[in-house]
C-alpha cells in the first residue's frame, strides 16, 4: 500500500515521487533507490529504520539537499529542490533545515552558546534577537546553565542536546537526525528523544530520524522500514 495514496488530502511537508539514486563504483552503477516515493505530513516525527547499507543515510542526505538524486521529484513544503544548484541548496538549507549528527559535530573551540549561534551567522538579525534565540534554544534543551561550556566539558548527551539547540535556533521547518542516540547511553538517549518529541508536539517541527534503536523508534509517530532501497512496511506508533 502506498503511503501517499493512503493520505491523499493532507498537508505534506515532504513529497518524494519516483526518486532514483545510484552510485558509481568503478565502472558499474550501484542502485540505491529505484523510483522511490514517499510523503511525510507536516509536524510528524518519523523514524527511519533498516539494516546497514539499506540507504537510510542516503535518503536523509537527499532530503537535506547535500546529495542529489539521479531522477525523480523531491519537494519540501511545496518547493522542489531536486533541480536546485549547489548555492541554491546551501541557501535553502540555511532557511529550512536543522541537522543532527550521530557524533554531535560541535565546533570544539566554541562555547555551547556560540555553537548554537553558528547557523544565525547566515541570517540578518539584531544582536539582541540573536541572544534571545540562543537563550531560548538552550532553554528548550535544558542547558541554559551550560551556555559558556566548551563541548569537551560536556557529556555526550549534553553535547547532543547542544546540537539539537543548534538545529533548532534558526527555526527550520524540517529537522533531520542521523542516529542521534546511536552514541548515547539509555538515559541520555531518552532525554534527547523527549526533546525531539517536544519539538514535534509543541513547535510543530517535522522530524525525520534514522535509528537502529527500537526504543528510539517508539518515540516517533511513525516508523518507516527501509530494506534494499524499498519501504517494506509502515507502522504508526501509538
Amino acid at each position: 500500500m502506498n503511503f501517499m495514496q493512503r493520505v491523499p488530502a493532507v498537508d505534506n511537508l515532504i513529497d518524494i515521487v519516483d526518486l532514483s539514486k545510484s552510485y558509481r563504483r568503478g565502472s558499474t552503477e550501484v542502485p540505491i533507490f529505484d523510483k522511490l516515493s514517499l510523503s511525510i505530513e507536516r509536524g510528524r516525527f518519523v523514524a527511519l529504520m533498516g539494516p546497514s547499507g539499506s540507504g537510510k543515510t542516503t535518503l536523509l542526505n537527499l532530503l537535506a539537499g547535500i546529495d542529489r538524486p539521479n531522477s525523480g521529484m523531491l519537494a519540501v513544503d511545496g518547493e522542489r529542490i531536486d533541480g536546485y544548484s549547489e548555492s541554491g541548496l546551501t541557501q535553502w538549507r540555511a532557511n529550512t533545515l536543522g541537522f543532527i549528527f550521530q557524533f554531535y559535530n560541535l565546533m570544539p573551540m566554541l562555547t555551547a552558546a556560540q555553537n548554537v549561534e553558528l547557523p544565525l551567522l547566515l541570517h540578518r538579525m539584531s544582536a539582541k534577537e540573536r541572544r534571545r534565540r540562543v537563550d531560548t534554544a538552550l532553554d528548550v534543551v535544558g542547558l541554559a546553565d551550560r551556555a559558556r561550556h566548551r563541548p569537551r566539558e560536556l557529556s555526550g548527551g549534553q553535547q547532543q542536546r547542544v546540537a539539537i539547540a543548534r538545529a533548532l535556533v534558526a527555526d527550520p521547518k524540517l529537522i533531520l537526525a542521523d542516529e542521534p542516540t546511536g552514541d548515547l547511553d539509555r538515559p541520555s538517549a531518552n532525554a534527547v528523544l523527549e526533546i525531539l518529541r517536544l519539538l514535534a508536539d509543541e513547535l510543530g517541527k517535522t522530524i525525520v530520524m534514522v535509528t537502529h534503536d527500537p526504543v528510539a523508534a517508539r518515540a516517533a509517530d511513525l516508523t518507516l522500514h527501509l530494506e534494499k532501497g524499498r519501504f517494506v512496511n509502515e507502522a504508526v506508533a501509538a
Binding site: 547535500i66 546529495d67 548555492s87 541557501q91 535553502w92 538549507r93 547566515l122 543548534r166
Partner: protein, 386 residues
C-alpha cells in the same frame, strides 16, 4: 558572535602550530626588515647639482691617480667655467680607528664648485683659503673630536709617506662647514693640496679627479669627449662624466647588493611559503569533517573559503607584525651603533609598504590552495569521514 570570532577561535585552537607558523613568518619578515634597512642606508641620495658637474677620473677608476698637469689642461678647455683638482687622503687622528676621509684641494675653486654640498661662513672660508696648513672640518667631525677653530691637529696618513719618513701632517683647524642639504654628511674635511703635496715622498703631483663646471650644459658631452680623446694614448687615460653618471655607476654596485638582499629575502619567503602552505593544506584536510558540518548548516562554499582565508590572513599578519617589530628594534639599535659609518639606517615608509605587499602576496600564495580546497569540500564525503 561574528564570523571573525570563528576565525580567531580556529586560529588559536592549536596554539603550538599557530606559534610555529607565526614564528616562521616572523623570521622571514625580520630578515627582510633588517636587510632592507641596511640596503637603504647604502643607497646614495640623489646628489643636487650632480647633473651639471663633471668629473675627470682615471679610466681605471677614481682610486687610480692622474697627473696634476691634467687639471691645468682641463682648465684651458673653452667650455670649462671652473675646474678644481682633488686628491683623496685617508687619514686618522691619534689612533687608526679614528679614520677620517679627507680631500686635498685647491680651496677657492673647490668651494666654488661645492656650494650645493657644503655651507661655509664667509670668515671661515677666508681663513681656510688664507691658511696654508688650514683644514675645513665638518661640524659633526669637529664635535666628535672636540676641535675648535685655531686648534693644531696632527693627522697620520694610511697610504702616503713624507719625505722626512713620517706619515704625520700638522694642520690648523681654519673653519667649520655644515651640510648644505639636510641629512648631508658633516664627517669629512678638506686641506690644501699644495701643502699636502709638497711633503710627499711618492705620488707627488698626482690627483684622483678634476671637478669641472661647464659654461654650457649642452656642450658638456662634447667637452668630455675632447678631454678624454686628448689623453687616450697617454699613460693615464681619462674618463670624463657627470657626477650623476658616476653616481649611477656606484649605484649599479649597490644594485648588486640589493640583488643579494632580494635573493636572501626571496629564499626565506620561498621556504615559509612551502612550510606554511603545506601546514595550511594539512590543516584543511584535518578539518574536512567540520567543513562538511558547516556546509550542512548552510555555510556556502564562499563563506567557508572566507573563514579559512581569514585564518591564513590572521596568521600571516601576526607573523609580519611580529617580525617587522623585532626588525625595527634591531634596526634602531644598529642605526645608533653605526650612525657614523652608515648613517640613515632607518625603517622607512617604503620598507613598510613593501612589507605590506609581501604580506598580501604571502596570504595569496599560501592561502589559495587551502582556501580553494576548503571551499570544494564535498559534504557527503566529508560527513562519511568520521
Amino acid at each position: 558572535m561574528r564570523e571573525t570570532t570563528l576565525v580567531r577561535r580556529n586560529a588559536l585552537r592549536n596554539p603550538v602550530r599557530m606559534l610555529l607558523m607565526v614564528g616562521c613568518i616572523a623570521v622571514a619578515f625580520l630578515i627582510f626588515g633588517v636587510l632592507s634597512a641596511v640596503a637603504t642606508a647604502f643607497r646614495l641620495e640623489d646628489q643636487p647639482g650632480g647633473h651639471e658637474r663633471m668629473m675627470v677620473v682615471n679610466r681605471n677608476g677614481f682610486q687610480q691617480t692622474l697627473p696634476i698637469a691634467y687639471a691645468r689642461d682641463v682648465a684651458r678647455q673653452p667650455n670649462v667655467a671652473v675646474s678644481s683638482p682633488v686628491r683623496m687622503a685617508l687619514v686618522y687622528w691619534r689612533q687608526p680607528k679614528d679614520i677620517v676621509s679627507a680631500v686635498m684641494v685647491e680651496p677657492e675653486t673647490y668651494l666654488d664648485l661645492s656650494k650645493d654640498v657644503v655651507k661655509v661662513a664667509d670668515e671661515d672660508r677666508a681663513r681656510f683659503v688664507a691658511t696654508r696648513d688650514g683644514l675645513l672640518v665638518g661640524r659633526a667631525l669637529a664635535e666628535r673630536y672636540g676641535w675648535k677653530r685655531g686648534d693644531q691637529v696632527t693627522l697620520q696618513s694610511f697610504t702616503d709617506l713624507r719625505e722626512d719618513g713620517s706619515r704625520a701632517w700638522r694642520f690648523t683647524v681654519a673653519g667649520i662647514y655644515t651640510a648644505a642639504q639636510p641629512g648631508g654628511s658633516e664627517l669629512a674635511m678638506a686641506g690644501h693640496f699644495a701643502y699636502y703635496n709638497e711633503a710627499l715622498l711618492t705620488g707627488r703631483d698626482r690627483i684622483n679627479w678634476v671637478l669641472v663646471q661647464g659654461r654650457d650644459l649642452a656642450a658638456n658631452d662634447a667637452m668630455a669627449r675632447t678631454i678624454d680623446a686628448g689623453y687616450a694614448n697617454s699613460a693615464a687615460a681619462t674618463r670624463t662624466q657627470s657626477e650623476a653618471a658616476l653616481g649611477r655607476a656606484f649605484l649599479s654596485q649597490i644594485g648588486d647588493l640589493m640583488l643579494i638582499v632580494r635573493l636572501i629575502v626571496g629564499a626565506a619567503f620561498v621556504v615559509i611559503l612551502c612550510v606554511v602552505g603545506n601546514t595550511l593544506i594539512f590543516m584543511v584536510g584535518e578539518r574536512t569533517g567540520e567543513i562538511g558540518v558547516l556546509k550542512t548548516l548552510g555555510f556556502s562554499r564562499l563563506r567557508v573559503a572566507r573563514i579559512f582565508a581569514g585564518e591564513v590572513a590572521l596568521i600571516a599578519v601576526a607573523g609580519a607584525v611580529a617580525g617587522m617589530s623585532v626588525a625595527a628594534l634591531i634596526v634602531s639599535a644598529l642605526g645608533t651603533a653605526l650612525k657614523d659609518v652608515l648613517p640613515g639606517m632607518t625603517m622607512g615608509a617604503s620598507t613598510l609598504a613593501m612589507a605590506a605587499g609581501l604580506v598580501a602576496l604571502l596570504i595569496l600564495l599560501t592561502g589559495i590552495l587551502p582556501v580553494l580546497q576548503a571551499g570544494r569540500v564535498n559534504i557527503v564525503e566529508a560527513l562519511g569521514r568520521k
